[in-house]
Structures are given as structure tokens and as C-alpha cells.
């Protein structure tokens, strides 16, 4: 079964950074628009079956994050069609729903509801989230008293305990100290081994090659290669050395 399917998907942004002023609107109405558009993704087609784990690689600005925003349905594509089936959990920007003045407990419940937990699920999973985060008594303190690492640990614990069918990860494997990183990696492997679908954006690393079987290589918004991760990673690194 295909859980993610993209057909000829493009996503454009305005060069002006999205912000239009009154004079831009007037120019549009008068037909004097300088159609300067920027393709973050251009004519991308691929599909992912359930249970697959796929890496997305490419240089900065290649359109990786845009691709993830499309798949998590934060933004519709400019052209083309996109179909996603199943419950997705995105570890895009850990802790985007957090507030420094709320306690760890309050933040867990808030973030859980943002990530589509029901009230019952949130309360059932609360203990395992706290246990995974290893925050113990700090959970009753406001978030602003936390260190950066503690905050990320909390955010990661909420997201991975959601038990998502499709887990989307954006370069967040480097969370906390080495011990906690190992634990996170182990948890992600566990989620994969349960037959869930995984979509990771990351730099090429040995862990990524173990975690994913397939890779998509994006370059300037276009899909240049799609295949087994070993081959794609080799081609990608080959290009980098030639350029260097």
C-alpha cells in the first residue's frame, strides 16, 4: 500500500519573502507584476509504501524541508497532487508548541493535544513520556528553568511516544548527551521495526545508512536520484568530492 504519493509536485515561493505590501497588490491588479518566483520544489514524483524507511538527502536549500512541510500537510503544493494516508508525527522543530512559562507537565499536555492525542491517550502516556525524558522532579518546574538539552529531551519524548504510523524526522537525531542520543536512536529503530513508515532528512551518516533502506537525493528542488541508500549516498558523496 502506498502511504505517501507525490505526482509532479511543485512548490513556488515569492522572492519577496511572502510579505506583500499595498503597492505590490496594486501592481498585481494593474498587471505590472514581475512574476519572480522561486521553485523550492520542481516536478517531484515518488511514492513510499508502508513500512519503508526513506532518507532525503541534499545540500542546504535543496528543498528538503519544503518537502517535509508538504508531506505533513502544513502547506498545499502549488501544482501537482499529493496523497498521504495514516497518522503522521513530525519531529520538525522540536518544541515548537512549548511555552517557557508553563511547567514541563503543562507543556506535555499542550504538546500532546497539538500532536492530536486525545485526552485519554495523553493521560495514559504521560508517565511513559516523563520516564523516557528522564526529567524526574523537574517536570513540575517552568520550562524556562530547563537547559536546552532538557527541553529537547522533553519534546522528543512527547513526539516519539505518539506511536505514529508515519514518523517524519528533520535532522533532530542529535538530542541531548551521548547516552540520550543512543536512546533516541534506539527508539527510532524500534518504531521502524514495528513496521511503521519513516521519512528522515539528515546529513549522510552511518546511522542514517543503517536506519533507511532507500534514499531520495534532491538538488535545487529537483529529484535527481531515487534508489537504495548505499548507491545514492555514494553518488552524492562522489559529486561533493568532485566539486571540492
Amino acid at each position: 500500500m502506498k502511504v505517501i504519493e507525490l505526482k509532479n509536485v511543485s512548490k513556488t515561493f515569492h522572492r519577496s519573502g511572502g510579505q506583500k505590501l499595498l503597492r505590490h497588490y496594486l501592481a498585481d491588479i494593474l498587471g505590472k507584476t514581475d512574476a519572480e518566483q522561486f521553485f523550492a520544489l520542481k516536478d517531484v514524483s515518488f511514492s513510499i509504501r508502508d513500512g519503508e524507511s526513506v532518507a532525503v538527502i541534499g545540500a542546504n536549500g535543496a528543498g528538503k524541508s519544503t518537502l517535509l512541510s508538504l508531506v505533513t500537510q502544513l502547506v498545499p503544493p502549488s501544482t501537482g497532487t499529493l496523497d498521504v494516508k495514516g497518522r503522521t508525527a513530525a519531529l520538525l522543530d522540536l518544541g515548537s508548541g512549548f511555552h517557557p512559562d508553563l511547567t514541563g507537565r503543562e507543556n506535555i499536555l499542550l504538546n500532546a493535544s497539538l500532536l492530536a492525542f486525545s485526552r485519554k491517550q495523553a493521560h495514559d502516556l504521560y508517565d511513559s513520556i516523563v520516564e523516557f525524558s528522564e526529567l524526574d522532579d523537574f517536570i513540575k518546574e517552568p520550562l524556562r528553568t530547563y537547559s536546552n538539552g532538557m527541553m529537547l529531551r522533553l519534546a522528543f519524548s512527547v513526539a516519539v511516544n505518539l506511536d505514529p504510523e508515519i514518523l517524519i524526522i528533520d535532522e533532530v537525531l542529535a538530542v541531548g548527551d551521548q547516552k540520550f542520543q543512543a536512546k533516541c536512536t534506539e527508539k527510532i529503530f524500534e518504531i521502524r521495526n514495528q513496521g511503521n513508515t519513516l521519512l528522515c532528512v539528515s546529513h549522510v551518516s552511518p546511522t542514517l545508512q543503517l536506519l533507511c533502506e532507500r534514499a531520495l537525493w534532491l538538488d535545487h528542488g529537483q529529484l535527481v536520484m531515487d534508489g537504495p541508500i548505499g548507491e545514492v549516498a555514494a553518488a552524492y558523496e562522489g559529486r561533493l568530492t568532485r566539486q571540492g
Partner: protein, 254 residues
Amino acid sequence: MWKGDYLFLLQNLVVKDFKIRYRNMSLGVFWSLLNPLVMMGALTFVFTAVFPNNQIPNFPIFVLCGLVPFNFFTVAWQNGTISVANNAGLIKRVPVPREIVPIATVLSTCVHLGIQIALLLVMVLVFGRGLNWNWLWLPVVWGLEILFVCGLTLITSALDVYVRDVRYVVESACTLLFWMVPVFYAIQSVPQSYANIYQFNPLSALILALRTILIDGAAPSSTLLLKLTFSSTLVFALGLYVFHRLKRQFFDYL
């Protein structure tokens, strides 16, 4: 699509807003009581001592019946208008239904609205206007008012994403409204041809209804209730429609 628990999310967002507003204040919710009382005192002074020729009895509660809805309306509308742009982090990272952000902001203002209504009711009793059955109309008129503010906020918060000047338009509109709704004057002083228009403004309609219920001890007139229901529902439906149309491009403009 996001398939979560709307009520649970709404509750968490409202509680968050309320807690972060008061957690670091030593006086806490006392501020909700202080502001209307000070304004009531100042307006009473101006219109009974400086301009002593007004004929309105029970002027302090008369003015409080105007201030409580006016304060709620302006605070909810202004905070709601900037809520989507200010929560860009949330909108760009979590696929929650976008409507919930401005609506939660309006509803969190209702927490101190509750405190201010309690103050108003206590003042009414202190001034010797007793309880009566028509108080049962209060939840109806307040409910319609909240619906109206939600609708209005959906429109302005969506527009504010595209054109950030909208928040200043709203701010100016609120300053103007203080004079254009009967906060400190009676509707009877307004020429008849204008007075009919006043009833279509849900904020004026609410103030008039409150005075009828609390000071006169009577039920609000059915034409007023009809006009209030009509304009609140219409604005809310329009708000949902406009927001739905505009939300697709939020990501690009935030």
C-alpha cells in the same frame, strides 16, 4: 489531516493563555477587577460632577454595564487579530486546524470576562437592583456576543497574516467604538434614525440588553434579540468562510 481532540486542544490552549497572563503577576486576577472599577469611578466623576446635568439614575452601574462588554470586546478582538501572526511557529510546524488559534485566544479572554461579569452582578446587587428571572437571558446575550467576536476575529486575524497593518486598523476601530457604542450615554439621547442602526451592532445591542435586564429588571425586546442573533450568526459564518479561503497560503506569508 489533523484528527485530534478539538475540545482537549482548545482547553489546553485557553488554559495556557490564561496561565501565562497571570502566572508572573503578584496581584493575579485582581487586575481584572481593578480596571473596570477605576474606569467606572472616572466616568462617574466626569458625568455626575463635571457635567452634572445628566438624568440617568444609578450612573455607576449604568456605565459598568457598558464598560464590561466594551473591555471584553476590545481585548478579545485585538488579541485575536494578532494571534495567528504571533503563533507563526505553531502554524508553520504543526498541522493543527488553524481556526483554533484565534478562537482559543478569544475564549481565553472569556476567563476574565467571567470575573468582570461577577463584579458587575455584585455591583447591581449593591445598588439595590435585586435578582430577577430575566437574569436567565444573560447567558443567551453573552453567548451571542462571544460568537460575534469569534467571527470578527477570524476575519481580521486571517487578513493580518497578509497585511500586518490590519492590527492598527483594529486598534483604531476600538478607540473609535468607545464613542460609537452607548458606553456612557443612553440610547434615548441618540436621534431615532441613528438608534435603529445601533441595534445591528452586536456590541451596542448587548449593552442595551444588559441595562434592560439588570437595571430595569425586564426582558430584552424581541426585535433587539432578533437583530443580535442575526448579526452575530452572520458575522460568525462569514468569519469561517473568509478564514477558510485565506488559510491555504498562511504558510507562505508567515
